[in-house]
Symmetry: C2
Subunit: 811 residues, 2 copies
C-alpha cells in the first residue's frame, strides 16, 4: 500500500467518560421518544381499538390473532431514536437497515412518529383515528405484513430470510460517499453463513468514493427457543473476532435505560466522529488506506421493557420474549390486565396529545424532510435511478459471413460491450459488475481494460487488475455478490452478475426474496422502479471441461420461473450477436430479474447482427436459412434453445437433409424462453395461433434444450401440439469428459437427435435406413475414439453448417 | 459451567524449537514421499504414456486436453505425508477432508502410494502398467473426474462446490470419539458464507463423546484470478479472527521444504498432543469444558515446487498456478521440455523402483491396513452403518373414530415417535436431529423429554433443554445443519432435519451436491449404502401466520425432482397417521434423499393407522369413504396432495355433494408424489393402466396441490387424461393473513375448487346454479369477515367431514 491510515482503537473508557457529560434533559426527552415507539410497537401487535388506553382495556380491543415479534423491537427502537439524534445534529443522511426484520412494528412505529409514514399512507394519519388504523392494520387481513417489508417506508431490506442485512448495507454504501448505513444485525442472523462472511465486506469499501457502514450487532442473546452463540461468548472473544474481521468494536451493554441512553449517545458520537475522520483522511489523501471501521455491539435484554415474567416464567431477557409475550388477551382477564399494565408503563399520556399526535417536544427530536430515515430517497432507489448511458451494441457485432461461417466466444464479445458500458457510465458511478472470482474465467476480461477489481487490502507489484477504485467486485461467495448487488440496485444503481451456472443455486433463496420484494413493490405507487437484476450464467452445464459432474446443473431457470411472470425473464441466446442484443436489452429494463445463459467457449456463429436483432426482438423464430420447408407445412420441426443444443440441432438437421433430402424440416430457435408459455400465463408468451404457426398442430417436434427437458413440457403443456414435442436436455449424466461426449451422455448430440426424429417419422422409415445406420455407427466410433484419444473426433469440432453461402436477413 | 478446562495457547516459539530436534533423516524420507506424490500429481494432469520418463518425453505422451488443478495440490500432498507420519507413530485414526477438491490429483496420488487405491481398483496396480493407467485415467473420457470425488478412496467430501469442508469434518467427528478429522480448508473456500459460519462448529463438539477436528487453513494466497482475502491479511489479524472463533491458531509459513518439513512435523506433534490432552481432561472429568481446539494456518506458495515462471510470467506463488501452469505440451517443444524438467525435478528415479513400485523405504512411511486414510472405514460410512432400532410407529397412532372425527398436530405426534427413536438408539450414539432453532417451533419438542439441544458454551440456570450431551443440533443456519448431517450420514450414522419449508432453498445447492454424490456411489460396488438424508419441511407455505409472504415458497420439491429418480422421494402425508408411516419408512431407507412436507397446526385427521398404512404403502389411492362413485366411473375426480389442500378438497366435495347429489365424485389422495410420474421415469411411478384406473382417461380432474401447480403438470404430462387435469396450488400470492384467506388468495380454497369443478362439468350446468351462487357468496362473505374481524369465519375452522360415521378400512 502506498499509504495506510492508522487509527488507534476507539477508547471505551473515554466514551464512558463522555457519556457522563451528555445532557440529561436531552436523554430524558430521547427516552420519552423511545417509549412512544415502544408503546406503538406493542399496540400494533395487540390492539385493534382503544389505541391510547383512554378507556379501560376490553377483550375486544385486542386482536383475535396475535402475530408479531416483540423481542427485538425495543432494541431497534432504541437505535432508531439515537440515530435520529445524530441526523438532526449533523444534518446527515443515514439509511437504517433492519436486519431483525421481525421487528416490523418498530420500523412502522418510528416512521409513523417522524411523519414519513402518514405522508405515504394518509389513511394512517397523525391523529387518533390514524393511531387506531396503525395498530389495527398490523398483521391483519388486508393490512400490512408483520415484517419490515417493501410496504415499510425507509426500508430496502425485507425482514424475511435472515443473513443479508450487512450485504444490503454495503451494497447501499458503495458509490454513495455521503451516506452512512446503520446496519442492525441480529445475533440470531449473525449465525448464518452469508452474514458470517459478509463482515469481510469492509475489505471492499473505499472511503474515498464510498459511504460508510456502521454495523450494530444487536446482541439480545436469544433466538426463537435458544440462546445465541454470540450472546454467550465472552466480551474478549467477541472483540477478538471483530478485530479479526477488521473492525474496531465498541460495546454498549446493560438494561438500565438511564445508563444506556447516554452510553449509546456517546458511542454513536465517537463512531460518527471516527467515520468522518477516516473519510476526511482518505479523501484528502485520495487513498483508501486500510481503515478499521467502528462497529457497535449492543447488548440489551430481549423484550427490553416488556413483562419480566408471565405465568411465573421468565420473559424479558429470555427467548420467551421472542414473539408475543402475553397470549389469551381476548379470553383471560389476567392476561388483559398484564397487557394494559405493560402498555401503561410507557405512560402514553406523556407522549401523545389530546388529539393523538406525538407531543411537539418529542416530534422535534425527529429529523425533517428527506433526512427522516423513512423518507430517505436512497431507500426508494427508483427515485434516484438514472438510465445507463448505453453504447450501441451493434458496434460490437461479430461478422457472420454466412451461418456457421465464423467462430467467436460469446462472452468475450460481451466483455467488450460491458467494458464500454463501464466507460460511458464511469462519471455517474452507478454501474458495477459482480462475480465470484470468475470475470476473467468467464471471458469478460475486456472490462479490465477500463477498470479494476476492487481491492482495498495489501497489493503486490505483480498483481493484475486490482485497485481500490475498481468497479468489478470479486469474492469467492455468490452470497456476497448477490447481496451487494441487491443493495446497490435497491438504492438506484445498475449491475451485472456473471457466474457459473451450477453454483448460482447457492443464492436460490436470495433470488426468491428479491423476486418477492419486486412483486410487492410493483403494487406500491410510491416505490419507483429499480434497475433489473441481471444474471449471466456461463461456464454452463455443457462445458464443464475442468470440473465435471458436480459443476453441472442447469436447474436455476426451473427455479426462476416459479416466480411471478411479470418479474422474471430467461434468455438463451445461441450466439454472440444474440447475446449482445439480450445484454443490451436487459441492462435497460427495470423491476425484473433477467437470467441470461450463454457459453464462453469458441463456437460457430449463426446470425448477423441484423438477423439477431429481429430474432431476439421476437424472442423465437424460424431460422429459414436452416429450414427446407419453404414456408410450407414441414414434416418435422427441429427446435432448439441454448448455444450447444442449437449447434447439435443444426448438425442433426444436416444429417437428416443429407440422408433424407425429401424431408421438410423447419428449424425454430428460442431465445426468450418465456415465449413458450401460454400468452395468458406470461406477457411474453406466444398466442396459441402464433405458437401453432411455428410448431404446427400435429407434426413431430424434436426440441434440443439447454436445461432439464421437462421444463419445456412444463412451459408447453397447454399447447395443441404438446403431445408431439420430444425434448432432449440434461438428464443428470456427466463427468469430466470431452464436450461432445457430454452431449452424447445425455442423448442431446446430433446423432441421437437425428435418430429421435426418424423414430417419430414412421412414414419415412423406408427412406431412413442408411441415416440410422450412419448415426449408430458414428456413436460407436465416437465412444471408441474419445476413450483412446481423450478428445473428440476432428469431424465433430470441424463440422460447419454446409448450406447457404451468404448472410441473409431471414426470419 | 461446572468446569472449564483452561489451556494456555500453544507456544509458537517452543514449536520452532522442537522442529530443530526432529530427525533430519526422517524429514528427508518424508520429503521424498512428498516428491513422489507431487510427481504423480503432475503426471496425472499431463501424461498418458511414459509415466516414469524413462524415455525422452514426446508430444504424444501428453494428453490432448490438459484438465486439472495443480495449484493446491502440493500443499495437500504435504499435509497428507505429514498426517501419515502421525498415524504411523500413534496408530490412530485420521480422516482427511480435502476442502480444495480441485486437488483431486493429490488425493489419488496419495491413496495410490499407500496402496489403498490399487486394492479398490486392481486395474490401476502398483507397477509400471498401473502407473500409466493412473496417469491416463485422470480427467480422461471413461476415466476418473478431476476432483476428489466419490470414486476417490478415503473421501467423504466431493470437491465440487466450495464451502462445506469444515461442516463435513465436524459431522464426521460427532459421536466418533477416536477419530481425528484433519480438515483442509482452502483460503478461497474460506471466503464463502457457509465456511465462515462453520468455524463456530467447535461450539457443538463435546470432547467427552466426540472426536476432534483439526482445521488446516491452506493459505496459498490465490483463487482463480485473484488474491484471497485471507492471503493478504496480516498474521495478527488472522490470529485475532481465529481466536475470536474460539481456536488456538498455529502458523506454519514458508516455501523452503527443508525448513517447512520439520516445522510442520513439530506443529502436528503439538496439535495432536493438545487434542489428546483436551480429550483426556474432558473424559476424566466427564465435562466438555470450553476447550480451545488447535488449528493450523499453513502458508505455502500456490503451485509449490512447480515452475516459477512460464513465458516470462510469474506462476509459482501466484494465481497462474491455479490450474495447468504449462499448456501446449502437445505442440510446443519448449513447453514439453519445461514439463519434462519440472517432472524430473522430483527425481522419479529416487522414488520408484525398476518395476514402477514405490521404493520400500518410502512405502514404509505409509500407515497400514484400515489406518491408511484411503482405507479408513469411516470414509466409507456404509461399512459402519447399523440400522436404527425402530419403535413401532403404530404405537403412536392418533385415534380417528371417523374421517375428520379428531384433531391433531401432525408434527407433534411425530415428535413423540422421534423421541423414542432417540431413546432406543441412545446407546448406539448414531442418531441426531438437526434444525435451525426450530425443533420446538416445529412442535417436535417431545424429543426434549429424552435429550437436549447440544450446547457447549456457557449455560444459565434458567436455560431449558440445553446440554453438552444433547442430540438435537440447533443453530440459525440451514447450511450448518445440512453440512453436519451430511458428514454424519457419510460416516455411517442416521439423522433427521426439520426446517421451515421456504428456507430450505438456502441449501438447494448443497442438496444438489449430496444427490450427485449418491448418484455416483450407487455405481461403486465398494461404497456401501449410507442412511438416507431425511428432510421434514414444516411451517409450510399455507401456515405462515406470523411471517407472511417472504416465508412462503413450496418450490424445494420442484428443485428436488430434477435429480436422479432413484435418489429422490417426496411425501405429502395428509394427516398424523400418514406422517408417522412416512417418517418410519424414510428412517429405514438408504442412499436416498427423502423430503416430507407436513404441517404443524391442529388439523382434522382422516385415516386410522390401519388405513394410513395401506394408503401410504400404495403412495396414492382412492379415499372411498369420501367418494360417492361407488366403484363405478365417476363424473369428477377430486385429487389432493398435502394436508391443507386435502382439507380444502374434501370441503369442496362436501359442497358439491350437497348441492349436486347426483354427481359422482372420486377422491384421490396422493402421499408419494413420485407415483404420478410415468413408471418409466421413476421406480414409484404408476403404470399408465394404474394411473388411468384412478384418474380415468377422460373425466375432469381437479387437483388441489400443496406446491406450485405446474409441478403436477410436469409429472403427469404423459398421462392419457392429462388435458383434463386442472391444478390449483400456490401461485405466489400471500401476505400476513388468516390461514383460510391464504388459500383464497391462491384460489385453492373449497369454494374455488367447487367452482372449478362445476366449470369443467358442462353437462351439469343446469343442476349447479345454486352451488355457484353459494360459493360466490361465501367468498364475498369471507373477505368482508376477515377484514373486519381479523380471523376466519367460524364455519371455516369448524367445518368437519359430515359423511361416514365409523372408521372403515377403505382404499
Amino acid at each position: 500500500m502506498d499509504t495506510n491510515i492508522v487509527h488507534s482503537p476507539l477508547d471505551g473508557d473515554a466514551i464512558k467518560q463522555a457519556a457522563q457529560s451528555i445532557s440529561s434533559d436531552e436523554m430524558t426527552l430521547l427516552d420519552r421518544y423511545w417509549r412512544a415507539a415502544n408503546y406503538l410497537s406493542v399496540g400494533q401487535i395487540y390492539l385493534m381499538g382503544n389505541p391510547l388506553l383512554r378507556e379501560p382495556l376490553k377483550f375486544e380491543d385486542t386482536k383475535p390473532r396475535l402475530l408479531g415479534h416483540w423481542g427485538t423491537t425495543p432494541g431497534l427502537n432504541f437505535i432508531y431514536a439515537h440515530l435520529n439524534r445524530i441526523i438532526v445534529r449533523d444534518d446527515c443522511k443515514v439509511l437504517y437497515i433492519c436486519g431483525p426484520g421481525h421487528g416490523g412494528p418498530g420500523m412502522v412505529a418510528n416512521t409513523y412518529l417522524e411523519g414519513s409514514y402518514s405522508e405515504i399512507y394518509p389513511e394512517v394519519g397523525e391523529d387518533l383515528a390514524g393511531l387506531k388504523s396503525l395498530m389495527k392494520q398490523f398483521s391483519f387481513p388486508g393490512g400490512i405484513p408483520s415484517h419490515a417489508a417493501p410496504e415499510t417506508p425507509g426500508s430496502i431490506h425485507e425482514g424475511g430470510e435472515l443473513g443479508y442485512a450487512l450485504l444490503h448495507a454495503y451494497g447501499a454504501a458503495f458509490d454513495n460517499p455521503d451516506l452512512v448505513v446503520a446496519a442492525v444485525v441480529g445475533d440470531g442472523e449473525a449465525e448464518t453463513g452469508p452474514l458470517a462472511a459478509s463482515w469481510f465486506s469492509n475489505k471492499f469499501l473505499n472511503p474515498v468514493r464510498d459511504g460508510a457502514v456502521l454495523p450494530i450487532l444487536h446482541c439480545n442473546g436469544y433466538k426463537i427457543a435458544n440462546p445465541t452463540l454470540f450472546g454467550r461468548m465472552e466480551e474478549g472473544e467477541l472483540r477478538s473476532l471483530f478485530e479479526g474481521y477488521g473492525y474496531d468494536p465498541i460495546f454498549v451493554s446493560g438494561d438500565d435505560p438511564a445508563v444506556m441512553h447516554p452510553l449509546m449517545a456517546a458511542t454513536l458520537d465517537a463512531c460518527f466522529a471516527r467515520i468522518r475522520q477516516i473519510q476526511k483522511d482518505a479523501r484528502e489523501s485520495g487513498k483508501a488506506g486500510e481503515p478499521r471501521w467502528p462497529m457497535i455491539v449492543l447488548k440489551s435484554p430481549k423484550g427490553w421493557t416488556g413483562p419480566k415474567e408471565v405465568n411465573g416464567k421468565k420473559v424479558e431477557g429470555f427467548w420467551r420474549a421472542h414473539q408475543v409475550p402475553i397470549t389469551d388477551t381476548r379470553t383471560k382477564a389476567d392476561s388483559l390486565k398484564l397487557l394494559e399494565e405493560w402498555m401503561k408503563s410507557y405512560h402514553p399520556e406523556e407522549l401523545f396529545g389530546e388529539d393523538g399526535r406525538l407531543l411537539p417536544e418529542l416530534k422535534a427530536l425527529a429529523p425533517k424532510g428527506d433526512k427522516r430515515m423513512g423518507a430517505l430517497p436512497e431507500a426508494n432507489g427508483g427515485l434516484l435511478r438514472r438510465d445507463l448511458d448505453m453504447p450501441d451494441f451493434r458496434d460490437y457485432a461479430v461478422a457472420v459471413p454466412r451461418p456457421g461461417g465464423s467462430t467467436a466466444e460469446a462472452t468475450r464479445e460481451l466483455g467488450k460491450f460491458l467494458r464500454d458500458v463501464m466507460k460511458r457510465n464511469e462519471a455517474h458511478k452507478n454501474f458495477r459488475i459482480m462475480g465470484p472470482d470468475e470475470t476473467a474465467s468467464n471471458r469478460l476480461d475486456a472490462v479490465f481494460q477500463e477498470t479494476d477489481r476492487v481491492w482495498i487490502e495489501k497489493r503486490e507489484s505483480f498483481d493484475e487488475s486490482l485497485g481500490e477504485n475498481g468497479r468489478v467486485m470479486e469474492v469467492l461467495s455468490e452470497h456476497l455478490c448477490q447481496g451487494w448487488l441487491e443493495g446497490y440496485l435497491l438504492t438506484g444503481r445498475h449491475g451485472f452478475f456473471s457466474t457459473y451456472e451450477a453454483f448460482i443455486h447457492i443464492v436460490d433463496s436470495m433470488f426468491n426474496q428479491h423476486a418477492k420484494w419486486l412483486k410487492i413493490t410493483r403494487d406500491l405507487e410510491w416505490r419507483k422502479p429499480i434497475a433489473s437484476l441481471n444474471y449471466l450464467l456461463t461456464s454452463h452445464v455443457w462445458r464443464q471441461d475442468h470440473n465435471g459432474f458436480t459443476h453441472q446443473d442447469p436447474g436455476f431457470i426451473d427455479h426462476v420461473i416459479n416466480k411471478k411472470a411479470d418479474i422474471v425473464r430467461v434468455y438463451l441466446p445461441a450466439d454472440a450477436n444474440s447475446l449482445l442484443w439480450v445484454a443490451d436489452h436487459c441492462l435497460t429494463t427495470w423491476d425484473r430479474i433477467n437470467v441470461i445463459v450463454a457459453g464462453k467457449q469458441p463456437a460457430p456463429q449463426w446470425l448477423t447482427m441484423e438477423q439477431a436483432e429481429k430474432h431476439c426482438q421476437a424472442g423465437i423464430g424460424v431460422w429459414d436459412w436452416a429450414s427446407n420447408d419453404e414456408d410450407g407445412e414441414p414434416d418435422l420441426v427441429m427446435a432448439c434453445a441454448g448455444d450447444v443444443p442449437t449447434l447439435e440441432a443444426l448438425a442433426a438437421v444436416d444429417i437428416l437433409r443429407k440422408y433424407m433430402p425429401e424431408l421438410k424440416i423447419r428449424v425454430v430457435n428460442v431465445v426468450d424462453l418465456m415465449t413458450l408459455q401460454s400468452h395468458g400465463e406470461h406477457p411474453h408468451g406466444l398466442t396459441d395461433m402464433a405458437f401453432d404457426a411455428l410448431f404446427t398442430r400435429n407434426k413431430p417436434v424434436i426440441f434440443a434444450f439447454h436445461g432439464y427437458p421437462w421444463l419445456i413440457h412444463r412451459l408447453t403443456y397447454r399447447r395443441a401440439n404438446h403431445n408431439n414435442i420430444h425434448v432432449r436436455g440434461y438428464k443428470e449424466e456427466g463427468t469430466t469428459t470431452t464436450p461432445f461426449d457430454m452431449v452424447v451422455l445425455n442423448d442431446l448430440d446430433r446423432f441421437h437427435l437425428a435418430l429421435d426424429a426418424i423414430d417419430r417419422l414412421p412414414g419415412w422409415r423406408n427412406q431412413s435406413g442408411s441415416a440410422v445406420e450412419y448415426c449408430e455407427a458414428k456413436l460407436k466410433e465416437h465412444k471408441a475414439y474419445v476413450h483412446e484419444h481423450g478428445e473428440d473426433m476432428p469431424e465433430i469440432n470441424g463440422w460447419g453448417w454446409p448450406y447457404g453461402t451468404a448472410a441473409r436477413t431471414g426470419d
